[in-house]
């Protein structure tokens, strides 16, 4: 197939391969380079965040505080949460979306390529600045990734540059980057679609990105504003959030959660989009209820804007507000349920291929069920009042952010690895990675649910010995999860160097990105495609790609 020699046809291929790696360290305006830059950078932060998590689990393997002292422990969980949310999942999603959205829409690039590069290059300084706070005399921020005042305003006397200050400045930089990115994504999806690419021919992944980025635009300014006010309180002596000086810390919670609950959907929606791409491809079925799933993405956006108070049911919140937000929070289960039913129906009566991306997608979708069901439980006020701020929340949250979203991210990496790199990954290593991750993740996060029910409070560095059993399981699971990343790294590096050359469409998938070469040329397509087909036309014999059984053998 032509894809094998595509690099030689590319307009940029004259300087390759010697300059190939260098462009990933350059201020490139190519959405594919920027996408890879985002993904690689966020993965490095994921490793750092994971290392911090393992230190936390090392501390919690015994009831006493005996590994790290308490201020350091507080810094560890603060930065673990911050890194995983703001430097791993959100930027990785921005990266994979950057890479795929123009390809899926049949566009040559994002709407504003220069802005795209600026948006990326704001993040490494923000991230490095955040990590540099470990070197300060009194270390990093220690008030948790919520940074609730007034505790976040308790700083070492005489140290204007402190961990909290650095934390706020870093997050403001990263937040501005995300807002810029959101403008670019929304504009691209509205205005850069190829001829014939109507909204209801767009892949669900693009719908998901559109929905997530709309949430960024609407909600993120609230967090950025809250952080700037917090910075004023911290450094300039203002009193917005100081309760003993006429300020109101509860207002901060409203502003914070107005963004930070929808942030879960900003992270989850692209993951749902990934499931919608991978499951049909490896089931050989059209995506069941495509229109419902596409519209459900927008449904999640609308409902999720009105749910933030469920994080504040115990924050001296009046009853009417508790009841109202209980109902709205539960209603999120409807569009997310539509998605979960759609995925399952897609798999039903299909022809399943259990390659690594499919394993990660099915595993992630299955574990989302537990994350989603516990989410509905938490929306019920009387139950939430009991488990609020306990490990039940931590377990639920990690079932979403790790067991669903990070699993989806791995599904995406394996699924689009041939397209991005032009190489195939090693299937055996991929499957080993999946099983270690799946087992490790459940061992780590499931014990948190019974611990929370029993009343183990989150963020404590030592605990009652009666909680030790489940904590040992969680810690051992956490270490296994740490180890699980090694076959992944070995696979990616080994496949990049020695992997078999990939064909244009190794999975026989539909979608415009599979019609171009692997990797795609500078401008994505030889000619801008004209779209005449519905998405996910796996079941339509008119369009289905049916290749001879020796297809792979011929190409490899």
């Amino acid at each position: 197939m032509e894809s094998i020699t595509r690099d030689q046809d590319s307009p940029t291929s004259q300087n390759e391969p010697e300059n190939k790696w260098r462009r990933y360290f350059s201020f490139s305006t190519d959405h594919k380079v920027i996408g890879v830059q985002y993904m690689v950078m966020s993965f490095l932060f994921f490793l750092v965040g994971g290392l911090l998590a393992m230190l936390i689990r090392a501390e919690l393997i015994t009831p006493a505080s005996n590994v790290v002292d308490r201020p350091l422990y507080n810094g560890l969980f603060t930065l673990h949460g911050t890194i995983m949310i703001f430097l791993w999942i959100i930027p990785f999603n921005a990266g994979i979306s950057n890479y795929l959205v123009p390809l899926m829409l049949g566009a040559r690039d994002m709407a504003f390529p220069l802005l795209n590069a600026i948006s990326f290059w704001m993040i490494p300084p923000g991230g490095i600045l955040l990590l540099s706070s470990f070197l300060l005399p009194n270390g990093t921020a220690q008030s948790g990734w919520w940074s609730y005042p007034p505790i976040s305003l308790q700083i070492p006397p005489g140290q204007p540059i402190n961990g909290e200050f650095i934390w706020i400045v870093s997050l403001v930089i990263i937040g501005i980057s995300s807002i810029i990115g959101a403008v670019n994504f929304v504009t691209t999806i509205f205005w850069m679609r190829a001829p014939g690419m109507t909204f209801f021919r767009m892949p669900v992944f693009v719908w998901s990105v559109l929905s997530a980025q709309l949430l960024q635009l609407v909600n993120l300014p609230s967090l950025t504003g809250a952080l700037i006010l917090l910075l004023f309180d911290l450094s300039l002596g203002t009193q917005f959030f100081k309760p003993l000086e006429n300020g109101d810390p509860i207002i901060y919670q409203h502003l914070f959660w107005f963004y930070s609950h929808p942030a879960v959907y900003i992270m989850a929606l692209p993951a749902f989009g990934i499931f919608a791409e991978v499951l049909p491809a490896f089931s050989r079925n059209p995506l069941f209820g495509y229109r419902s799933l596409a519209v459900a993405s927008l449904g999640i956006v609308v409902v999720s804007i009105f749910v933030w108070v469920h994080h504040m049911f115990t924050s001296a919140t009046p009853s009417w507000m508790r009841m109202l937000f209980m109902v709205t929070s539960m209603l999120v289960a409807v569009p997310t349920g539509v998605k979960a039913f759609g995925w399952t129906a897609t798999i039903w009566k299909s022809k399943l291929h259990l390659e690594t991306p499919m394993l990660f997608a099915m595993g992630g979708a299955a574990m989302f069920l537990l994350g989603g069901v516990t989410g509905v439980m938490l929306a019920a006020v009387p139950f939430d009042i009991h488990v609020h701020n306990t490990y039940f929340i931590v377990g639920h949250f990690h079932y979403i952010v790790f067991n669903t979203i990070t699993m989806a991210i791995f599904a995406a990496i394996y699924f689009w690895f041939p397209k991005i790199t032009g190489r195939m990954y090693a299937e055996g290593w991929g499957k080993l990675h999946f099983w270690l991750t799946f087992i490790g993740a459940n061992l780590t996060f499931f014990p948190m649910l019974p611990l929370g029910l029993q009343g183990m409070v989150r963020r404590i560095s030592s605990y009652d010995p009666r909680y030790q059993g489940w904590n040992v399981v969680a810690s051992l699971g956490g270490f296994l999860l740490g180890v699980s990343i090694l076959p992944f790294i070995a696979n990616i590096v080994g496949s990049l160097l020695y992997g078999t050359r990939a064909v244009n469409n190794p999975w026989h998938a539909t979608g415009l990105e599979w019609t171009t070469t692997s990797p795609p040329p500078q401008d994505n397509f030889e000619q801008i495609p004209v779209v005449k087909r519905p998405p996910y036309d796996y079941g339509d014999p008119k369009y289905s790609v049916i290749e001879p059984p020796d297809y792979h053998q011929q190409e490899n």
Partner: protein, 302 residues
């Protein structure tokens, strides 16, 4: 005919799932701590109900996935289509309508149980502040009148201890509560946000500096419990515990009399740790808010 058997099989599976889910829901009571208040039983009922519904959904969908993995595998290199079905409007309406009704039902149950809890009375909850005023103005939220109670205990929390003041002005670091009596806890935080939480009571409430917050509780089981600070409050957060003793009214009154004559002193764990060099493997020596000097001096007394 084949379709008939298929429907029959599905109906049978749903029946089995209902039985299994109900059984799991009944087990859920055992996953919770002891029920020590009138409110705890109601919360556990709600939890059991939620677990039953959750188990039905999870088991149903996971069973479909596992069944697919076992029986719908494609032969290697067979990339032909599975089936051409793109959707089914009736099915999609059904699986949108059912969760909608289900969550409304759950919300209704949650509302009912919340009404029965009747534990919270928030005073001065709405904090109105205009730049022209030097003092904050407060308004009482409608419907948030303090609930009637037989006894009122003042609760004070600060970095790093809890203290309780009883009707006879006795102050202690232990919370004593009479059983089967509605007691109002009038809570005050002195520095940062804290959260009052006794897992056996199934109650949790943030305490905001500058606000009076009432929590009315009716313990129903005598025994010793642990009060925890559930909201992260700084360096020694993990040590922000206090003993809670629920006892008969006679024992409670007797304790009040004894404590008035002979105040009890309980060693403060945070102070003990602060005054000792850290025993951990890694020592950062980063900044912490210190316990006050009085607390350190009191703890130094053997």
């Amino acid at each position: 005919m084949v379709r008939f058997w298929e429907y029959l099989l599905i109906a049978g599976l749903i029946a089995v799932l209902l039985v299994v889910s109900h059984w799991i829901g009944q087990q859920a009571y055992a996953w919770m701590p002891l029920e020590a208040t009138a409110e705890a039983q109601k919360v556990d009922d709600l939890f059991s109900f939620l677990v039953s519904i959750g188990a039905f959904i999870i088991l149903g969908l996971v069973a479909m996935m596992v069944y697919s993995i076992l029986f719908f595998r494609a032969p290697k290199y067979d990339y032909s289509e599975g089936h051409p079905s793109r959707g089914d409007l009736k099915l999609e309406i059904l699986w949108t309508a059912i969760p909608t009704l289900l969550v409304l039902w759950i919300a209704f149950q949650g509302f009912n149980i919340y009404q029965q809890l009747d534990v919270l009375g928030l005073r001065q909850i709405v904090h109105l502040h205009t730049p022209l005023e030097s003092q904050p103005a407060y308004a009482i939220a409608t419907g948030e009148k303090p609930k009637p109670a037989a006894e009122t205990i003042e609760v004070f929390v600060k970095q790093w201890d809890w203290s309780f003041r009883y009707p006879n002005n006795v102050t202690s670091n232990e919370l004593h509560l009479p059983v089967n009596l509605r007691t109002r806890l009038n809570m005050h935080a002195k520095d940062v946000l804290h959260s009052f939480y006794v897992p056996e009571f199934r109650l949790q409430q943030y305490i905001v500096p500058g606000r009076d917050i009432d929590l009315v509780v009716t313990p129903t089981r005598t025994g010793k419990y642990k009060l925890k600070d559930a909201l992260f409050s700084g360096t020694y957060f993990a040590l922000m515990d206090a003993n809670v003793q629920v006892e008969s009214l006679e024992q409670y009154n007797q304790w009040l009399t004894t404590a008035e004559q002979e105040p009890t002193t309980i060693k403060n764990q945070a102070v003990a740790e602060y005054t000792q060099p850290p025993k951990t493997l890694f020592k950062s020596g980063w900044y912490t808010v210190a316990p006050n000097q009085t607390a350190i001096a009191q703890n130094a007394v053997p």
